[in-house]
Symmetry: D2
Subunit: 154 residues, 4 copies
């Protein structure tokens, strides 16, 4: 495996991720919350509501993307130095089923943790007709570690 | 060009797009509005606000994606029959600069209008330091025309 | 799971995939061969050679993409009716490490088998320094089932 | 525009690109050749042949991807320092029509030239029924500038 699941460089990654997530106005607006945080893994939860829906009443693809992008970015950040910022360079989302909810569970995992470039993959699940998790969407995100500058240029 | 810029099949596409956009709770939540609507072209406007921001104060990549995805979907829908639903199959977003605002202008254009599958490309602009439009993000979206069934399965 | 791992609709899918692969001049030119074929899963093998290399001597990203795209397309085709053609609508490739070889193993698996649209994910592996498989690249491909027409329009 | 179309940092970029392209065994195997080379723009030509075809006789999507990826990489390299290597981090390809040839013209242009990360977009054209260029495929590629190290890690 090219993934380095060594101990993350910052023992306080959980607190760090939670503090940063709390600053994301977009997540609060959407009603998204942070679930489990582990080294290289983060879960974001997004409940269905009229506020995040599209014209047919399903959760808007962009809202699904936002929750999954946050999960990918924070998953990557758990394996970065404490003073680094994580920047999404690009992501790709495939929508496999209408996002009905009632709760979307976005699970992100780091596929490659590089010095400069990391890649994370995420899957979004909802309860299926049989009560088992049913796949709603998949995402691959490419992220950049930014250190020693303002963290916004790339 | 593989793009068919013949007259759209539904003369009321403008009213149709605006009525559908008004039903997207997600767009209202974000503060996004619909700009120009033309055959194969739609503009969505997204102002910067704390409600759509990430931890550094820029517009969240997912919110940019949501506005651009809506623009792509509606651009494709202008070239579809009036009774068709448009479904986003997948999209890919590249982030080129931090989304500072104050106003993001998401311009989508149909690259290919197919019977079943359409492709739209979008660019998101913000005012640059020189006052000229500066590129924030690009998106390619693949969309499906759904007719004669419930419009949600694919 | 949204993946339907019921029996594939065509019992002869193995023979069908192998006959089709043998007609791909591109795979012969590259030196790629077909590995295991199962319902919803296909492996394509690509040995390193000067003929598929880029300027630094690694396997060209496009050649990796070609082998992975074939694996994804055939994985999807195993779950389709025997008379259907499979069409790649789009794919996205992330390159995680230089493709040194000596043998690239491209494993594709269907993530969603839909009536019209299927999604397959692939991973490309090579031996790592420790002899264990090391990840070279990941791909997500969107494929279309084409029946009752010439199989080339979409 | 976020694209910097200032003079490229290396006046010999044309010779540099051509020398590098000539070292790509994959391009020679495919029969691909280099067309125009300008600052931020590169054209790669790929003739249809049985050697690059898939089972229906069209050019294999992976071969189209390889030619377009080379075009994107070299387009980005024209705006990089002479001693830099360019690395493809990821790309996404949308296939809009079967690649019949007889000649595929892959035009790549840099959308953003960053210090570390660049983005290039490419379009692949073939003659349409009316003799006008008809769009076969579009690609967005993310590339990395690598300097001062071996050019293969990222």
């Amino acid at each position: 495996m090219s993934r380095r699941l060594t101990a993350p460089p910052d023992a306080d990654f959980d607190a760090r991720v939670r503090a940063s997530f709390a600053k994301q106005g977009a997540m609060a607006t959407m009603g998204a919350t942070l679930g489990q945080v582990g080294p290289g893994r983060v879960v974001v939860l997004l409940p269905h509501s009229a506020q995040v829906s599209q014209q047919h009443g399903f959760v808007h693809a962009g809202m699904v993307a936002a929750a999954m992008d946050s999960a990918c970015g924070y998953a990557a950040s758990t394996l970065m130095p404490a003073d680094a910022a994580v920047l999404t360079i690009e992501f790709k989302l495939n929508l496999l089923a209408p996002a009905r909810g009632p709760l979307l569970r976005c699970e992100a995992e780091v596929t490659k943790a590089g010095r400069t470039i990391s890649v994370a993959d995420a899957r979004c699940w909802q309860p299926g007709p049989d009560g088992q998790p049913s796949l709603v969407a998949t995402m691959t995100a490419t992220l950049m570690t930014v250190t020693g500058r303002d963290g916004v240029r790339h």
